[in-house]
């Protein structure tokens, strides 16, 4: 397990390096001079030159990249052009709501997907299974933002039991926090449920007739216990790998969902910054999300190894 962990840790170094290069390129290979973009086209040449110097844009690109990389290591992601606050600070202020939303939607996803998959495998020889397959396919075909609009329509107008906008911090009120996150959480979960339940169903069906299930049935263990204990625990291992994909979906989804439900998270910050052409913030947000995503994938990999004693005790 220790060697496995070390190998995984080492493997993310080149990935993070590539990530930083891509993030750097996104802004710096933009057609046109960033200083122009920031200040507007009718600004004076002196002001442009001054900003170029300030941002280090007069240096060669490679030097700029290493300057930037160096400052990232010190936790400095630059300054917002719009609010002139440090990007690190802006992002850290916005991370709470996004994190909350992710946790809620992940919980919702697992809470629905796991029992669904077990139930479907239990009833695997009935018409429920093809019905489920169609349902999961439909789930992955619905645009999240459109589903959000529909829910806003239903719960904002027809049955106003959930708020359709805003965010209350968990430190203020747990109930209000939850209440505000239910609808956006459902929207984000809806798409991922199909994905995870499908994956879990597939891997459960693969292990449902393995020899060890025969041993369990031979002991006189109930079919439901065979499924929930023996089959599920084995199917969970390959399913963890799609959790990474799910989280990518959630991270992408939050950007849109926060905008619709006006949740002041990182996603909304990103969209606002794109509209304001606040490049340092865009760069910072993209970098942080990619970094978090790499980290989550690392955790998923380690979880995978931990769940499988064949790797854990190697």
């Amino acid at each position: 397990m220790l060697r496995y962990t070390l190998r995984r840790l080492l493997a993310i170094i080149p990935v993070l390096l590539i990530v930083s290069i891509i993030v750097f390129m996104i802004v710096h290979l933009t057609p046109g001079n960033p200083a122009y973009l920031i200040l507007g086209e009718d600004s004076s040449p002196e002001a442009i030159e001054q900003l170029e110097q300030q941002l280090g844009l007069d240096k060669p690109k490679v030097a700029q990249y290493f300057d930037w990389l160096g400052s990232i290591f010190t936790g400095d992601l630059g300054q917002s052009i719009y609010s002139e606050e440090p990007v690190t600070q802006i992002i850290s202020e916005r991370i709470g709501p996004t994190f909350s939303l992710m946790v809620i939607s992940m919980l919702l996803t697992l809470l629905v997907a796991i029992p669904t998959a077990i139930f479907i495998v239990w009833k695997r020889n009935t018409m429920l299974d093809p019905l489920f397959l169609s349902g999961s396919l439909l789930g992955t075909s619905i645009p999240e933002f459109w589903l959000a609009l529909l829910l806003v329509l239903v719960f904002g107008v027809t049955i106003p039991i959930f708020p359709v906008a805003g965010y209350i911090s968990i430190s203020e009120s747990l109930m209000d926090w939850l209440h505000h996150l239910i609808l956006p959480g459902i929207v984000l979960a809806a798409v991922e449920i199909g994905l995870i339940a499908r994956m879990l169903r597939d891997s459960m069906l693969e292990s449902v007739n393995q020899d060890y299930t025969k041993t369990a049935r031979g002991k006189g263990v109930k079919e439901s216990t065979v499924l929930m204990k023996h089959v599920f625990s084995n199917a969970l291992i390959p399913t963890t790998t799609v959790i990474g994909v799910t989280i990518a979906g959630l991270l992408g989804g939050t950007v849109i969902i926060e905008t619709i439900f006006t949740i002041p998270g990182v996603g909304q910050l990103l969209i606002d910054s794109i509209h304001r052409r606040d490049y340092p913030v865009i760069q910072g947000v993209v970098l942080v999300i990619a970094f978090v995503y790499v980290l989550i994938n690392l955790i998923v990999d380690l979880l995978y190894a931990f769940l499988d004693p064949r790797i854990r005790y190697d």
């Binding site: 020899d211 369990a216 049935r217 002991k219 006189g220 084995n234």
Partner: protein
């Protein structure tokens, strides 16, 4: 104690219905050992799984027959009642010990599950019993091994664990489906020895299934020879091995490498393949491969008939006819050998 009457177990596949078990009857008494022998694909494994009702349903179904255990027909039982018998009254060990243990649970937990499924015991008691069982099946350092995972055990050790699981509730019948096939020869002998000791200690009846006549000869008192889903010969070990009366059994015996044999040590395979169980041949199922087959064999499907009080044979050849046919064949072969030299 257990009586199987005219059991049929068929499997629905893409190409049609496979008659894996097609009208099998036999009984087993307490403490007895019955061996079931046949080539792979003869339906012996499906038969064993039928007794425990462990064939996946669907595609398997039971169009006919009864499996009477202590007055109850296992085929008619509700799942709940069946579970009270599985593991407690009748237990089973499987062919491949490498895949028959759940890779993600500890040995001890899997063993305790077998105990706790049928007995409401405190965990400490169950653990104590589990350690006893591991000692019984010859696992060294059982207390420590309780916390090991299956992949940390060798194949032979895993089969011992599986035997321990099967013995957990002191069952009346133990079904062993090719228990040694996946193991090394030396380990095979140990496992068979272990099963014998267990039987002496607990008085368990054993149904042992194997394609290996050596295993059957070593273990069984009564033998059933299966071919294409049917029993073609059954009797005491002596009947089967020394008074062989069915050409198929004879071919099986001849395919064994024998050191004590007078003839040269040739390893003979039975020619041809086991029949297609979706469209079985007409008449006697064995006739396409039978060295003694006559025109009549293509027409008549011989029933299992009594030759002596315990010895039953499904062949149209009488004992005398079969003896003469064998003699003729051996003469022909001897000449063939001489020609070779």
């Amino acid at each position: 104690m257990l009586e199987v009457k005219n059991l049929k177990a068929h499997i629905d596949t893409t190409d049609g219905v496979v008659r894996a078990v097609d009208g099998v009857s036999f009984t087993i008494k307490p403490g007895e050992t019955v061996g079931i022998v046949g080539e792979s694909g003869s339906g012996k494994s499906v038969l064993a799984h039928s007794i425990m009702q462990l064939n996946p349903k669907p595609p398997t179904f039971y169009p006919q027959g009864e499996i009477i255990f202590e007055g109850k027909d296992l085929l008619q039982l509700q799942d709940k009642e069946l579970r009270k018998i599985r593991g407690k009254e009748i237990a089973m060990i499987f062919q491949d010990p490498m895949s028959s243990l759940n890779p993600v649970f500890k040995i001890g937990d899997q063993l305790m599950e077998a105990i706790l499924t049928h007995h409401h015991l405190p965990k400490s008691k169950a653990k104590q019993r589990a350690i006893e069982l591991l000692t019984d099946v010859g696992i060294p350092d059982p207390e420590k091994r309780m916390n090991a995972y299956p992949h940390q055990f060798s194949g032979g050790m895993r089969q011992r664990v599986l035997i321990a699981i099967a013995l957990a509730c002191n069952p009346k019948i133990l079904i062993a489906d090719e228990p040694t096939t996946a193991l090394d020869v030396t380990i095979q002998a140990q496992i068979l020895e272990l099963m014998k000791n267990i039987q002496e200690k607990y008085g368990t009846a054993i149904i042992i299934i194997s394609h290996d006549l050596g295993v059957i000869a070593q273990m069984a008192e009564k033998v059933l020879v299966m071919y294409s889903g049917r029993i073609v010969e059954k009797g005491d070990v002596e009947d089967i091995f020394y008074r062989t009366s069915m050409p198929y059994t004879w071919s099986l015996l001849r395919s064994l490498p024998r050191i004590d044999s007078e003839s040269r040590n040739r390893l003979l395979n039975i020619e041809g393949h086991p029949p297609n169980l979706i469209h079985p041949p007409s008449g006697c199922n064995f006739h396409p491969r039978c060295p003694f087959a006559s025109e009549q064999c293509k027409m008549v499907d011989p029933e299992l008939t009594k030759r002596s009080p315990e010895h039953y044979v499904a062949c149209i050849l009488s004992e005398m006819e079969f003896k003469e046919a064998k003699k003729r064949m051996e003469n022909v072969e001897r000449e063939g050998d001489l020609n070779h030299v």
